[in-house]
C-alpha cells in the first residue's frame, strides 16, 4: 500500500493495464481448459439429477387400462392385414388403410403430396383418421402417428397394426376429453411434414410442393406420440427418441410420463435411443456410457436432423417423442409383445388426455445422460459462456495492444520533478479499414456460396458437388486476392519507408516501442514528432474475428446449444492461437489446419468417418435443408465459413 500510494493514479493504472494485458491471454487459455473440463464433466452422475414429473395434471399410469386380450388378438389380426397391404403402391395401401379405419368407425381420409427438391422428387399418400372424443368440444387433440417406413428401413408393421387396434379400443371408451388423430404417413419425414403443414393450413399448391388440403380435422394438437415398431415380432426394450428439427426438444414431461408408465402399469425396459447397455457398478464404464448417450443427442442436435418423425411436430409447438421397439435377440430382459405395447400406449394417451393446458411445467432445455437422468440448462450453459468470454478476453488483449492506453504515460517536467500523466487518448490510431473490408468481403462470399449451393441453374451436368467446387473457387479467389493485395501493399510501404529512413539518416531510438508492430510506417516523415504506427492489419482482423466468434458462439447457444458447443470447441484453439509467423512454413501449416476445419474440410472428414462418398454427404445436407429447413447449411455458409475465410486470410497476412 505504501508503495502504491506513492504512485500517481496514472501510474497505478499503467501497472494494472500491464498486468491485465500480460495475463489476459493466459487467462483466456485457462478458461478454455475450464470450459473443456466442464463439458467433459457434464455426463458424470454427480452433475445430473433424477427426472421427475413436474406437471401434476398428467398423473401417469393412474388410469385403469382397458386394452385386453381381445384387443391384442385384434392387433395381431391387423398385423396380418398390414403385412398384406404393405407391398401395394402408395395410393392403394393408403386407401386400404382408410377403409380399415372407417370399418372401426373413425372418420378417415387420405392426403396426396408431392415434394421436389433440387435433386429428387417425392410423392406419396398419407392416411389419417380422427376419433372424436364423445365428451369434448373438439378444440384439442392428441396425435398417434406411424410412418410406413421404420427407422430400420423395414415396414413399420406392428406400429400401424397398433394404431388400428388402439382406434378400436378407444372407440369403446368414454373418458377422452381430447380428440385422437391417427396418422399413417408415407415416405420418411416428408409425408408427416406434408400432413402437418396441411393440418395447420400452410399447404402449398406449387408445382414443386403440393399438399392436398385435409378433409377431416380436429382441434389444436397438444401432444403427439410417434410409433416405430418394425416387423411383426416381439421386442426386448423400448427406446425413446426425442431430438427435433434444429435441436429443439420436447418438454421433458413427455419422457417422464413414459418413464413412469414403463416402471408401473406396463413394465418394459426403457432406454434412450436404440442403445442397450448392461447395468454396471463400474464408475468409468458408467461415465463412458453416459458420455456416449449425451454425444448421440448432441450430434443430432448440432446437425439439426430429427431422430424420428416426432421432430417435425416440434416445429409446430407440439411436444412429441418417438417410441421405438428394440429387438435385440439374446438381450437379458423379458421380451414383450403387442399386448404390453398396447397397454403402455393407452396409458400414455390417457395421461396426456388429462392435460389441462399445453405442457409447460418441466424443462425444455436439457441434456439426457440416461433415460432417468437429466442435466439442466443451469449446468450446461456456463461452459459455453466461459468459452465465449475467453474469445472476448483474447480480443480485448489484442484491442489493448493496438493502442497505447493505459500503458504509455506522458512525462511532464515541472521544475526539477518529472510528473507522469495519463494520456487523454491513444496516440496510436486503430486502422480498421483492411480488417473490416476483409470481414465484409468474407461475409459476402459466404452468402454467395449459399446462393450457389441452393440455386438451380438448369445447366447440363449440374450436381451439388460441382456447385461446391464453384463455391470453393469463389472462396479461394477471395483469399488469394486479399492476401496478395496486402503483401504488395506492405512491400510498397516498406520500400517507401526505407527511402525515408535513409533520408533522415538518424537512429530513431525512440521508435515505436512496446508492442509487436515494428517501426515501418508510411508517415514517419519527421523523427521529432514521430507518430506511433498503427497496429498491424492482422491484429485488427484477429480482434474482429475473435469478437465475432464470441458473438456467434454465445448467441447460437441460446438457440441450439449443441451446435454452439461444436463450433466453439472446434474453432477456439486455432482462432486464438494462430497468428501470422515470420516463417512462411508455419503460416502455411496454420492455414492448412484452418482449411481442414472449413465446411468443405469438415465434409471430407464426415464422409471419411461414415465411409460415404463426399457427394452423398453434401446432397444429404442439401436435402435436409430443403425438406426440413435445418439450419446447418445456412449457419455454415453465412456464419461459419466467413469467419473461417477471414481466419485463413489473417494467418497469411504480412507480420507487420
Amino acid at each position: 500500500m505504501g508503495f502504491l500510494s506513492r504512485l500517481s493514479k496514472a501510474q497505478r493504472q499503467q501497472i494494472f493495464g500491464r498486468f491485465v494485458l500480460s495475463w489476459m491471454p493466459t487467462l483466456s487459455y485457462i478458461m478454455v481448459a475450464v470450459s473443456f473440463f466442464w463439458l467433459l464433466a457434464l455426463p458424470h452422475q454427480d452433475y445430473s439429477k433424477r427426472t421427475y414429473v413436474s406437471e401434476n395434471a398428467l398423473l401417469p399410469g393412474s388410469a385403469n387400462v382397458q386394452f385386453n386380450w381381445d384387443d391384442n388378438l385384434a392387433a395381431e389380426a391387423y398385423r396380418d392385414t398390414v403385412q398384406r397391404i404393405a407391398s401395394l403402391p402408395s395410393i392403394e395401401r393408403a386407401q386400404a388403410l382408410e377403409l380399415q379405419f372407417a370399418a372401426i368407425g373413425l372418420k378417415s381420409a387420405t392426403q396426396n403430396y408431392t415434394l421436389s427438391t433440387s435433386t429428387e422428387s417425392f410423392h406419396g399418400v398419407n392416411t389419417y383418421a380422427v376419433f372424436y372424443a364423445p365428451r369434448s368440444d373438439g378444440t384439442e387433440a392428441l396425435v398417434l402417428s406411424a410412418s410406413w417406413l421404420s427407422r430400420d428401413k423395414t415396414t413399420n408393421t406392428n406400429a400401424i397394426a397398433m394404431l388400428l387396434a388402439l382406434g378400436k379400443t378407444f372407440k369403446r371408451g368414454s373418458h377422452f376429453s381430447k380428440d385422437i388423430i391417427f396418422v399413417v404417413s408415407d415416405g420418411e419425414a416428408e409425408g408427416l411434414q406434408a400432413w402437418l403443414k396441411a393440418y395447420h393450413g400452410n399447404e402449398e399448391h406449387t408445382y414443386e410442393r403440393y399438399e392436398e388440403p385435409l378433409r377431416v380435422r380436429s382441434g389444436a394438437i397438444q401432444a403427439a406420440l410417434n410409433l416405430d415398431f418394425a416387423g411383426t415380432g416381439d421386442y426386448n426394450a423400448l427406446g425413446i427418441f426425442f431430438e427435433g428439427v434444429n435441436g429443439q426438444l420436447p418438454n421433458l414431461d413427455m419422457i417422464n410420463t413414459i418413464n413412469l408408465i414403463s416402471m408401473g402399469i406396463a413394465p418394459v425396459e426403457l432406454t434412450l435411443h436404440d442403445e442397450l447397455v448392461p447395468y454396471t457398478d463400474n464408475m468409468t464404464k458408467n461415465y463412458l456410457n453416459s458420455l456416449r448417450k449425451m454425444l448421440y443427442q448432441m450430434k443430432y442436435q448440432a446437425v439439426g436432423t430429427p431422430t424420428g418423425n416426432h421432430g417435425l411436430y416440434l416445429k409446430y409447438k407440439i411436444d412429441a417423442i418417438t417410441l421405438y421397439g428394440i429387438d435385440r435377440p439374446g438381450w437379458h430382459s423379458h421380451r414383450f409383445n403387442l399386448f404390453r405395447v398396447g397397454a403402455l400406449l393407452e396409458s400414455a394417451v390417457r395421461s396426456l388426455n388429462n392435460l389441462l393446458e399445453h405442457l409447460h411445467q418441466s424443462f425444455f432445455f436439457y441434456l439426457l445422460s440416461d433415460v432417468r437422468r437429466y442435466t439442466s440448462i443451469g449446468l450446461y450453459m456456463p461452459p459455453v459462456i466461459i468459452l465465449g468470454v475467453s474469445f472476448i478476453f483474447q480480443a480485448l488483449s489484442l484491442w489493448g495492444l493496438s493502442s497505447d492506453l493505459p500503458l504509455e504515460l506522458e512525462s511532464i517536467v515541472e521544475g526539477d520533478t518529472t510528473i507522469p500523466v495519463a494520456l487523454p487518448y491513444s496516440r496510436r490510431s486503430r486502422n480498421f479499414k483492411v480488417a473490416s473490408s476483409t470481414m465484409g468481403m468474407a461475409m459476402v462470399t459466404g452468402a454467395a456460396t449459399f446462393f450457389l449451393l441452393t440455386t438451380e441453374f438448369g445447366l447440363v451436368g449440374e450436381s451439388p458437388m460441382l456447385k461446391l467446387v464453384a463455391s470453393v473457387g469463389v472462396c479461394s479467389m477471395l483469399v488469394l486476392s486479399a492476401v496478395s493485395a496486402a503483401h504488395v501493399r506492405t512491400r510498397i510501404i516498406k520500400s517507401a519507408s526505407t527511402v525515408q529512413k535513409a533520408r533522415a539518416s538518424h537512429n530513431d531510438t525512440k521508435g515505436s516501442s512496446s508492442s509487436s508492430s515494428s517501426n515501418q510506417s508510411d508517415n514517419t516523415y519527421n523523427v521529432a514528432d514521430q507518430e506511433l504506427t498503427p497496429a498491424a492489419d492482422w491484429i485488427m482482423l484477429k480482434t474482429l474475428i475473435l469478437a465475432l466468434s464470441a458473438l456467434i458462439v454465445t448467441t447460437l447457444s441460446a438457440l441450439n446449444f449443441s451446435l454452439a458447443v461444436s463450433i466453439g470447441v472446434l474453432i477456439v484453439l486455432p482462432y486464438m492461437a494462430f497468428r501470422p509467423s515470420r516463417w512462411t512454413v508455419v503460416s502455411i501449416i496454420e492455414a492448412l489446419i484452418l482449411l481442414a476445419i472449413s465446411p468443405p474440410g469438415l465434409m471430407m472428414v464426415a464422409s471419411w468417418w461414415y465411409a460415404k462418398d463426399p457427394s452423398e454427404v453434401l446432397s444429404w445436407v442439401l436435402k435436409e435443408y430443403e425438406i426440413l429447413g435445418t439450419w446447418l447449411l445456412p449457419t455454415a455458409c453465412f456464419v461459419y465459413w466467413p469467419l473461417n475465410l477471414a481466419a485463413v486470410i489473417m494467418v497469411l497476412l504480412p507480420v507487420s
Binding site: 493514479k9 409447438k317 506522458e410 511532464i412 515541472e414 510528473i419 500523466v421 487523454p424 514528432d529
Partner: protein, 431 residues
C-alpha cells in the same frame, strides 16, 4: 465537402444506397417480415397501422375511432394519394432516407466552417488537432447503418420524424429561424418527444450572437415561431380529419403508453407487471425522466449544440415508451457530427459489442418466446435491458469524451503542469 453532391464519391455513395434499398425492396417478403418485427416497427410507427388508417380515412370512417391508428393525421394525408402504389411508397421512403443523408452532409459542411474559425487544440508533439470526419463519411455511416436500412425496408414511419429532426438541425446550423422552428414543430407533431430539441436548435441559431439581449429576443421569437407552426399543423390536421380525436389517439398513446406491445424499450414490461393503482405515478416518473435532461444538458454543453441534439435524441431513443432501431439510426447518425471526440472515447469496444449482441439476441429470444414456446417474456425484456445499457454507456462515454476534449482545449497537455499530477483527475482539480 461543402459542394455537396457534386463529387464522384458522393454520387457513388448515394447511388449505392439507393441501389441497395431498391434491391431489398424487391423482396416483398423481407419488407413485410421487417415491418412486423417489434424491434423495427412499434405501435406508433408501424406501416401496417398507417395503411389501416389510410384505408379507414379513404372509406370515410373516422380513422382514430378504432384505437388502432396512432400516427399523425397529416401522415395519413401524405400517404392517402400514394398508398395504392407500393412502388411510390417505397420510393418515398428511399427519398427521405437519402434526404437525411444529404442533410447530415450539409450539416457537417457548416460545422467544418465553424470549426475552421475556432482556436486549434494543441495535441501531443505540438501538432494541431486534425478536423473530424468528412461530410460524406458521416452520410455514409448513416446510409449504410444496418439499423437505418432495416428501418427503411421495414417502412417504419419514425423515418419522417427523423427527417424533420435532421432538417431542423440543418436549418438551425444554417441560421434559418423560421424553417428550423417549423421543422422542430413537424418533428414534435409527428412524435412529440423531439419538442425538446427546440433548445439545442435555438442554441445553434444564436451561437454567433454575442449580445445577451439579442439572444433573448431571438429565443423568444423562435419559441413563438415554434408554437405558431405547431398550432398551424394541428389546425391543418383538424381540417383533414374533421375532429380532435387524433390528440388522444396520437399523443395520448405516446404519453400514457397504453399499447403494451413488446418493444426494445424499458416501459412495456414494467407497465404490464404493475398494479393499476401505481400506474399513473410511474407513468409520470417515466415520462418526466425523458424530458428532464433537456435543460441541464443544454446548459452544461451549450457550446456544443450539435452534441446536445445527439444526446437528447439518444435519451429519447432510450427512454421513450416506444423506441425502435429507427431512433437508434437517428442518434447514431448524429454522433459522427462530433467525430473529433471519438479518440477520447474509452468504451467503444464494449458499446459496439452490446449493440451487436442485443441486435442478434432480440430476434432469437423473441423466437424462443413466441414461436418455440420454450422461453418467456423475461428473455426478450432482458435483451431490451442490455440494449438500454449499451445506449446509456454510449451516452455517458461520448459525454465524457466531449468534456475531456473541452478540457484539453482550455489547457493543452504540455501546459497543465502541477495540476496534471493527478492524471485523470486533472479536470476535478481545475475546478
Amino acid at each position: 465537402m461543402a459542394k455537396g453532391l457534386s463529387s464522384n464519391n458522393a454520387v457513388a455513395v448515394f447511388g449505392t444506397a439507393v441501389a441497395l434499398r431498391l434491391a431489398l425492396f424487391q423482396f416483398p417478403a423481407l419488407a413485410s417480415l421487417l415491418g412486423e418485427r417489434v424491434e423495427i416497427s412499434t405501435p406508433v410507427t408501424s406501416f401496417k397501422r398507417l395503411s389501416e388508417g389510410v384505408f379507414l380515412f379513404t372509406n370515410g370512417v373516422p380513422p382514430y375511432d378504432g384505437g388502432v391508428v396512432h400516427q399523425a393525421p397529416l401522415l395519413l394525408g401524405l400517404f392517402y394519394p400514394i398508398i395504392s402504389s407500393p412502388l411510390l411508397v417505397n420510393l418515398l421512403y428511399i427519398l427521405i432516407d437519402l434526404a437525411i443523408g444529404y442533410m447530415l452532409l450539409q450539416i457537417t459542411a457548416i460545422k467544418d466552417k465553424d470549426y475552421a474559425k475556432e482556436k486549434k487544440i494543441t495535441q501531443y508533439g505540438g501538432k494541431e488537432e486534425e478536423p473530424g470526419m468528412s461530410g460524406l463519411s458521416v452520410a455514409t455511416l448513416y446510409l449504410f447503418n444496418p439499423y437505418t436500412i432495416a428501418s427503411c425496408i421495414g417502412r417504419s414511419t419514425i423515418l419522417y420524424s427523423n427527417a424533420a429532426v435532421a432538417a431542423a438541425i440543418w436549418m438551425g446550423m444554417k441560421g434559418n429561424k423560421s424553417l428550423a422552428m417549423f421543422n422542430v414543430a413537424v418533428a414534435t407533431y409527428l412524435s412529440l418527444y423531439p419538442s425538446m430539441l427546440i433548445i439545442p436548435v435555438i442554441l445553434m441559431l444564436t451561437r454567433k450572437i454575442d449580445d445577451n439581449d439579442l439572444t433573448k429576443k431571438v429565443a423568444i421569437r423562435c419559441t413563438g415561431l415554434f408554437a405558431g407552426s405547431l398550432v398551424a399543423l394541428f389546425a391543418l390536421s383538424f381540417v383533414l380529419v374533421n375532429s380532435w380525436d387524433f390528440f388522444g389517439s396520437v399523443y395520448g398513446t405516446i404519453l400514457t403508453v397504453s399499447d403494451l406491445t413488446p418493444n426494445l424499450g424499458l416501459c412495456w414490461y414494467f407497465f404490464i407487471e404493475m398494479f393499476d393503482q401505481f400506474r399513473p405515478f410511474f407513468l409520470v416518473v417515466f415520462q418526466i425522466h425523458v424530458f428532464i435532461f433537456a435543460v441541464p444538458v443544454s446548459i452544461k454543453l451549450r457550446k456544443y449544440p450539435l452534441f446536445v441534439s445527439f444526446l437528447l435524441c439518444a435519451i429519447m431513443g432510450t427512454f421513450k415508451g416506444y423506441p425502435s432501431v429507427g431512433d437508434a439510426s437517428l442518434y447514431l447518425g448524429l454522433l459522427p457530427l462530433s467525430s473529433e471526440i471519438f479518440k477520447y472515447m474509452r468504451y467503444s469496444f464494449l458499446v459496439t459489442n452490446l449493440f451487436m449482441y442485443s441486435t442478434l439476441l432480440a430476434p432469437i429470444f423473441w423466437y424462443l418466446w413466441v414461436y418455440v414456446g420454450s422461453g418467456n417474456a423475461n428473455f426478450f425484456y432482458a435483451i431490451g435491458l442490455v440494449y438500454g445499457i449499451g445506449e446509456i454507456i454510449l451516452m455517458i462515454d461520448s459525454t465524457f469524451a466531449l468534456l475531456r476534449r473541452d478540457f484539453e482545449s482550455q489547457s493543452p497537455p504540455e501546459t497543465t503542469g502541477q495540476d496534471a499530477a493527478l492524471g485523470w483527475d486533472r479536470e476535478v482539480v481545475q475546478k
